[in-house]
Symmetry: C2
Subunit: 463 residues, 2 copies
Amino acid sequence: MPDPRLAELSRWLPDLRLLTAPGDLEHYGRDWTRRWTPAPLAIALPANVDEVQTIVRWANERQVAIVPSGGRTGLSGGAVAAHGELVLSLERMSRVLDFDAVDRTLTVQAGIALQTVHEAAHCHGLIYPVDFAARGSCSIGGNIATNAGGIRVIRYGNTREWIAGMKVIAGNGELIELNRGLIKNSSGYDFRQLLIGSEGTLGIVVEATLKLTDPPPISQVMLLALPNMDALMQVFALFRTRLALQAFEFFTDQALQHVLAHGAQRAIDGDHPYYVVTEFDAVDERQQQMALAAFEHALEQGWVSDGVIAQSEAQAATLWRLREGITESLAPRRPYKNDVSVRISAVPAFLHEMQALLAREYPQIEVVWFGHIGDGNLHINVLRPEDLVEEAFIAQCEHVTRLLAATLQRHGGSISAEHGIGLVKRAYLESTRSVAEIALMQGVRKVFDPNGILNPGKLFATG
Amino acid sequence: MPDPRLAELSRWLPDLRLLTAPGDLEHYGRDWTRRWTPAPLAIALPANVDEVQTIVRWANERQVAIVPSGGRTGLSGGAVAAHGELVLSLERMSRVLDFDAVDRTLTVQAGIALQTVHEAAHCHGLIYPVDFAARGSCSIGGNIATNAGGIRVIRYGNTREWIAGMKVIAGNGELIELNRGLIKNSSGYDFRQLLIGSEGTLGIVVEATLKLTDPPPISQVMLLALPNMDALMQVFALFRTRLALQAFEFFTDQALQHVLAHGAQRAIDGDHPYYVVTEFDAVDERQQQMALAAFEHALEQGWVSDGVIAQSEAQAATLWRLREGITESLAPRRPYKNDVSVRISAVPAFLHEMQALLAREYPQIEVVWFGHIGDGNLHINVLRPEDLVEEAFIAQCEHVTRLLAATLQRHGGSISAEHGIGLVKRAYLESTRSVAEIALMQGVRKVFDPNGILNPGKLFATG
C-alpha cells in the first residue's frame, strides 16, 4: 500500500477492508453514467458505523475527499470518483436491523438493496412502496441521497415520505440521529429532510428507519394506445377522477420499438404514436366496471384508439415490462439522459415546446422519451448515432440541454426530477434554483462539512 | 414616532402600516402563552412581499430584531416580542392567490387563517386536511413555522406533507421560491422542508402553495370508555387493524370533567377513567359492521366498558366536542403545558413512567392530560392551584419538565411534538437534539440569517 495516507488509515482501522486493485478502482469508481474515467485513491468497505465515522475523521484530518457509494446505479454521476477520492462503499452494511410491528417500521443499514427491503417488508405482510427498475442493485442510502421517486409516486410519493429516521455521519465527523422514528417532532430544524436529496454532500447515511404500509388493494393493469399527445392529459384527467390510480406511465411508439426489439411481447396491434400503462384499484366488480366505463368513454371521445386489460398477473407483468423495460433496452446505447419535471398543469404546454425543441435540435438523432405523467416527470433519452463520436455527441446534447433548461425555467420546472444533479446537471442547476438559493446551499454545506471532504464537486462547486 | 429607526423605516416604506399604541404593542407582542410581558418596538403590517423584503433589509442594516407573527395562537412563545423587537404581522396578507384544479393546489398568502383555507378548498370540492381547534385564528404561516399537526395526523400527516411550495424572505433579505409546486424535484437541498418547523428563525414565509386532496369517505364517530390504561393500546391496535382510522384521540376522566363543566354534553353514563374518540371510514354496511364487530370484540375482552356511535352529524359533533373542547375549557386556568411524543411502540412504557412521575411530583396539583395516541403525542396540562403564586408554580413545573425531559430521552421521545420549542422549551432542547445537532442548527441559522435578526432567542441561543 504505497500511499502514506492509506497506510495511516489502516493504522487507525486495522480491520478496515481496503481495495486498491485496478479492477476494483474501476468497478467502484463509476456509476451508470459511464462518462467519467474512474480514478479513486482506494475503496473502503467499512463494516459498521464506527468505521464510517473514523474514516470521515481521518478524511478531515488528511484532507482526503470521500465519495459515498451505494449501488452506483445513479444516472447523474453523483457516485463517480474520478479525482483520487476515497470511495466509501456501504455494501457490507446491508442488514435489516429491526422490524417494529407497532410502529410499522423497518430499520436497515444504508447499504441494503431496495429489493431486499421489499422482501423484508413482505415477510411482515407490509410494503415499502418506493419502487423502480433498479431495485435489485440500488441501495437505500442512495435512494435517500437522491430522494428517489419511481413508478408509484402518484400513489405513495417519493422516498422523502417514507423515512422515519436516520443515522448519519455528518461531514464534520459527528454521528447524528435524526428524528428516531417519531411521527410528531417539532424540535427545531428537520435535518432528516435536509439530508434527503443532498447527494452525499452533507453526511453519509449509515442507517435508516423506513415507514411501511399496508399492501395496496387488488389492482388491474391496463395498456392504452393513444392517437396524439393532447389525448394524454385528457385520459389522465378522466382516469384520475374516476379511478384510484396506483400508476400512470407514458411512453412513445419509439420507446416501444426498443423494448420489443429487446424481447418484450407486443400487446396491442397496429401503429400508435403513444401508449399508457396504468394500474388502479380493482377490489370489486364496481371498481372494475368503473375502469371499463372510463376506458369506453375515452374510446368514444377518440382519446384512446385501443386498449387491453390484463387478465392475469402474468399478463400484468407483460404489460408492465413494456414500460419498465425501456431503460434496460436502451442501456447498451448509453443514452444521454434528461430527467425533467414540471407541475402537472404545465405538462401540455411544456410537452409541445419540448417536442418542437427536440425535433429542431436533434434532426438526425433518435430521441426516446417516456415518463411518469401523473407527477409531471419526463425522461428523455438521446441515442448517439454510430457515426458521431462521443465527444461531439455529448457537446451537442449539452447544447440542447441548455435550451431545454431555459424552456423548463419558463415553465417553472426542474432540471432534475429524480436522478439528482451530481456532475451531469451541475451546469444547469441555476435554471431550477436561484443564485441566492445556491449560495445558501453552499453555506449549509460548509456548516455540515467545513473541510469540504464529502463528494466535492457534486451538485455545485464547493465554495 | 419618536424612535429614529422607525422614522427611517417609514421613509423607506411611506405606505407601510406601523402601529405603536400601547394596546397594539400588547396585543401583537404576545401569543397564547401569556408568560412574558409584551414589549415590542412597534408592529409592522406589510401589505405585500416587497414590503416584507424591505423591512427585513432595513432590520439587517439597523440590527433590529424581527418577530414574524401569524395568528399568535402558539403555545411555546415563538411569537412573543418581549425585548424591543419589531413584530412583523402577516395579517394583512391573507388572500387566496390561486387555485389550480389540475395540480390540485391552493396558493395563499401566509397570513390566511387555516379555516379560510378549509373553506376555499371546500368550494372546489377538495380538502386541506391539516386541522386542529385553533383553526379560526391560526395562520398558515404559523402552521408552517411549527409544522403544525393536530387531530388528523394519523390519516394525513403533519403540515410538512401538504406544502408544495413557498415564497420566503430569508433572514439575509433574499426572496427565495422553494419547490414551486413540483411533485418531483431532485435539484439540491430541499429548503422548503428545512423552513417547515424552523419557527421563524431562518426566513419569513410570505406565500405558500398547499396540496389539496379528496374529501375523506363517509365516516362514523365513536366514543369509547376504557377501564384502564393498558386497554388503550389494545383498543388502538385492534381498531387500527380492522378499520380505516381518520382519528384516534384519547383523554382522561379529569379532562372530561372540565369539558362538561364548560358546557359540553355527557355522552356515556357512569365513571370511567379513560375515553377515546375515534373516527373511521364507514362508507357501506360492511365497514359499519366491521366497526361494530371491533367494538364488540373490545367489549368482550374487557378493553372497553362502554361506547356510543354517533347516529347523526350533530351527535358526531357532540362527541368530538368532548375532545376538542378540552383546551378551551382549561384556557381560563392558563395551564402550564407539556406537549411530548414518543414512538407509538414506546407509548405504554412511557405512559406508565410519566404517570408515576406526575403523581409523585405534583401531589397537590391537578394535571389534565390527553392526546393523539395514534401518533404518540401526549398533551399534559398542569393547573395552578389558587393558593400558589405564579412564579413558584412555574418553577415547580420547570423542575418536573426537566425530569420529564430525562424520561423522554430514555424513551427516544421529543420534548415538543407539535407546539415547537420557542421560548418555553428552549432549556430542554438537548433532551431531544444532541449538542452536535444544535451546533449544526446554529450554523445553518447563521447562513440564512447572518445578522441574527429573525426571532432571536427562540428555539436556541443565537450563537
